[in-house]
Symmetry: C2
Subunit: 567 residues, 2 copies
């Protein structure tokens, strides 16, 4: 699978679109000079091209499997993981005190995206560990930090997150796993967890599970949940993994895709655990981990989109068919050209949104500023849902570009579309992301939304001399979105929920147009052509979406359950 | 897999939306009384529910396989096929002279859709045979008809179509298979064909291949192609299969879905064949077969959409999660309700379009009227592309409704989305359907399009007192589409090709709205609620699509191939 890391594109985005210079101007991230960032991207990119991309098909054709209670990973994944760990790519943004590079999340986001393009199934492993590192940095005791962080950051140990139980999916508060205090200050963890990504592996020295469970007598719902570190092997004081803990992989799921990533049902049978954060305060720590992971999952979608695009383009450039002009390959056909350009424009828009979200996170970390914090919070669900929707759509188009070959597994086109499918579901379904956007993220009366729209409008105004048509289209779209946003924040929650998904998508469409316009102002002719394609052909979608938003929940329940079921 | 045949819905569509009474008022189809049609639907529906639906998962989990040159089909498929053949469901529309029922294609379309909902992989088998029957009825000699039609119509023998070669996919004219005349009036067929759906099976007495090949000295391109009947076993004069012909299955494809349907690479090594139609006139006969099959493939998409919808609804009704009101299941959540209602409204729109197309085909058959013929020709690519796009979108939404369970294969939700994926590719990719629409189907200067829009406008006018808001929305959409259509027919072919896909989709959107409005005028409150959902929330998509159409090929090639490949 040939993959070329889009390092030049990240650099352009950093320098001209998402404003990484604001991040590197802070004390906190002063070390991330442009030269260093480019060196990091280049080195990570090379590893993705040379080490990870060749593993992509292995993960699909030789799935992870459970043998006598032991997870056996796909051929070559051990070497791939070693390259990730030794390159330091797990801990790019982690605390230097414990061995991390301390670089901005913006850089991590780009590197994670490249790893996702190259081999999504394996990339999910360090993504989980990164989330765990951040949760521990914020919530764990100094003792736990000292013991676990160096090992996780170096990649010697891996981390997982254990939320879901069969009866408690999106409704985390319904979980039942128990944690009973022991005399030695630890807890005995008992319960079954499902959908545990990379619940085990055969290449890391230890696997560290962060598990949500209830203390005896805890209240029902999310307020009675605590978080525990439950390692596969219990480390001694020097951090040497010792005794086997009382937990095991019961089974692995048989999934539509992402076969290289073992998705485990985990059984905890009085396993020894250490509390992370305060009693009954587990959800706060888990949210730290999930927030990080949401941006990361959005990046997975974008990474797959990039991989699927490159894969489809290579096929189209190579495939001769019909009376195509120019190169004689199908890439000259107008409809194939339209598909490919759409894939590229869409991937770029989603990437700009994710990196802009990452910049806001970094600025929040560096400055604590409430405006940046609100911006990061608003952009996170958009980055997750839109990035993964783009991953699905672009990879489906990639299959279509391949024609009949797209449906045949050997080409690898279908794998992108199967692998990426879960990203719209895990870390909170895209529907839940959209509900988060219109509810929690609009408790400010639409202020964060308005600030983003102000920025787009300012860009449009500054582009009106150079690129009048594009500027006008973006300006109009932003103002239509503003009006609809003002209307939406005045509605009941039920009305907002009913149209949360089209609203999120419309917002992403307009944001994408704003970033494309900015890139057109700063970039060369090809970049302008790409922006023009997006703004003229893809931005208009927002109008239909916003018309839908204006319906709220009106009439939504007029069809009874019997009506829905009538055949 | 519980499946309930939507017989009531077909009856409503026949009686109140697509005007089957026009068909049954003709001499040709006078026997298809309402009672008979309902009895047919009920009986076929029962077979789909009881016999075929239980086979759906088998096809996926126990794929067809090649053993020592023999295709072994999935468990139970032999019994399922027997039920289809014995029910007479292969030859519903076939000539009664040879054992067919002689019923309208409209009825066949409904029955095929039900079979596709129940078990797509198996349904593809009789769909191929139906196409072959029609091709033989129109183009074969009386001798061939007498020999083959009774066996194909009874289902004792199956039919396939052999177009594609490795170097000749969508560009059929590039094919190289050879046909050499023999002294006995037959031809020796030599060449390799790929993507042969149901290229072989272990449950029919014979497999009859219609093969495109070139006579010695034939001109290049599509004008030098002839069509041949090449049976697996050569029948004697009484139609008894005898000597094994010199053809074989080389391999089966490893596909993303539709595992129960063996997709073969076929090798013909001087196999004995009989010419169908005139020398070098093979494409005309093949187009008969493909035209039939295009509507049939559209119906496959709709059938899968219906199956996926019912499957997702059943899950949503059963799954308790969160603080849902009413039934306490997730179907009460606004976003889940939105997804399910969208699935239902979308499936219904696609079904109305396909059945309306079938009525136009039947009217053409019965009357030879040029207006009906043009309407059928215009609606066929829309029915194919939109029906299969709906199949993909609805089945993807079905996965989403399932949350994490959707990504796990055991639930069956993922299978719908994998199986249906090929329908957007085979029988001419959806891009090719769209190009057919804006090129060949607009050589009339937009007359057929205009006639359809006139009808929608007339419906909107007659609804303006009862349902003023819906009527206005449909009227406005139809007029916007008319303006864009007038603009499009005046453009160069390249401009039309560049926006063929969004144009087809916009046309389908507006057509769907027209049918929903008509249903709302004739139907009860739930039907009005469904129409309202579609018209208020889904119809608005047309505006963005038509804005895209107006761009033509403008700027599409501004990004060079190097620009597209820049990483």
């Amino acid at each position: 699978m040939p993959y070329r890391a889009p390092v030049r594109d990240y650099s352009f985005l950093f320098d001209h679109v998402v404003g990484l210079e604001q991040v590197t101007a802070t004390d906190r991230f002063a070390e991330a000079t442009p030269d260093m960032v480019e060196a990091i991207l280049t080195e990570a990119g090379r590893m993705c091209e040379e080490v990870l991309a060749p593993l992509q098909r292995n993960g699909d054709t030789h799935p992870a499997r459970l043998e006598n209670g032991v997870v056996r990973t796909s051929p070559g994944f051990d070497e791939g993981y070693k390259a990730i760990a030794e390159g330091g790519w797990v801990g790019i943004s982690a605390d230097p005190e414990f061995g991390g590079m301390g670089l901005p999340m913006t850089v991590t986001t780009a590197v994670n995206e490249m790893m996702a393009s190259a081999c999504l199934a394996l990339q999910l492993n360090p993504l989980m560990t990164q989330g765990q590192i951040e949760a521990l940095e914020h919530h764990a005791s100094d003792e736990l930090k000292a013991l676990y962080l160096p090992k996780l950051i170096s990649g010697e140990w891996c981390g997982t997150m254990n939320l879901t139980e069969p009866q408690a999916g999106s409704d985390v508060g319904a979980l039942k796993a128990k944690a009973e205090p022991q005399d030695d200050g630890t807890y005995a963890i008992t319960g079954q967890k499902i959908y545990i990504s990379w619940g085990d592996n055969d290449f890391s020295e230890n696997v560290c599970h962060l598990v949500l469970a209830r203390l005896p007598g805890a209240v029902e719902g999310t307020k009675g949940i605590s978080l525990f570190m439950v390692p596969k092997f219990i480390p001694d004081a020097d951090g040497k993994p010792g005794e086997r803990n009382d937990l095991r992989v019961v089974s692995l799921e048989h999934k539509m895709g992402l076969h290289g990533s073992p998705t485990a049902v985990m059984e905890y049978s009085g396993a020894k655990g250490w509390m992370v954060g305060p009693e009954n305060g587990g959800m706060a720590a888990m949210f730290t981990m999930m927030n990080n992971a949401r941006l990361g999952v959005g990046g997975q979608g974008i990474g797959v989109a990039e991989g699927a695009y490159q894969h489809a383009l290579a096929y189209a450039l190579d495939r001769k068919q019909g009376r195509a002009g120019g190169s004689g390959s199908i890439v000259e056909h107008a409809d194939v050209r339209r598909m490919l350009t759409e894939m590229k424009a869409e991937t770029w828009a989603a990437r700009a949104i994710a990196l802009s979200c990452a910049v806001a996170i970094d600025m929040t970390t560096a400055t604590g500023d409430a405006g940046w914090k609100a911006r990061a919070a608003f952009l996170t669900p958009i980055a997750k849902a839109f990035g993964t929707d783009v991953g699905m759509a672009v990879s489906q188009t990639g299959v279509q570009v391949h024609g009949g070959m797209g449906f045949v597994e050997e080409t690898g086109a279908a794998q992108y579309s199967r692998d990426v499918r879960v990203t719209a579901i895990y870390e909170g379904t895209n529907g839940i992301q959209a509900m988060d956007l219109v509810a929690r993220k609009m408790m400010d009366g639409g202020e964060a939304a308005g600030a983003l729209l102000d920025e787009i409008v300012a860009d449009a105004k500054s582009a009106q001399d150079d690129l009048p048509d594009m500027a006008q289209a973006v300006f109009d779209a932003a103002e239509t979105l503003r009006e609809t946003t003002d209307w939406l924040v005045a509605q009941e929650l039920q009305d907002r929920f009913a149209v949360a998904v089209p609203y999120l998508r419309a917002f992403a469409r307009v944001l994408g147009a704003g970033f494309h316009l900015r890139a057109a102002m700063k970039g060369d002719d090809p970049r302008r052509a790409l922006a023009r394609f997006y703004i003229e052909r893809m931005l208009p979608e927002h109008a239909g979406l916003l018309a839908q938003v204006r319906q709220g929940a009106d009439g939504l329940y007029d069809l009874s359950l019997d009506d829905l079921a009538a055949a």
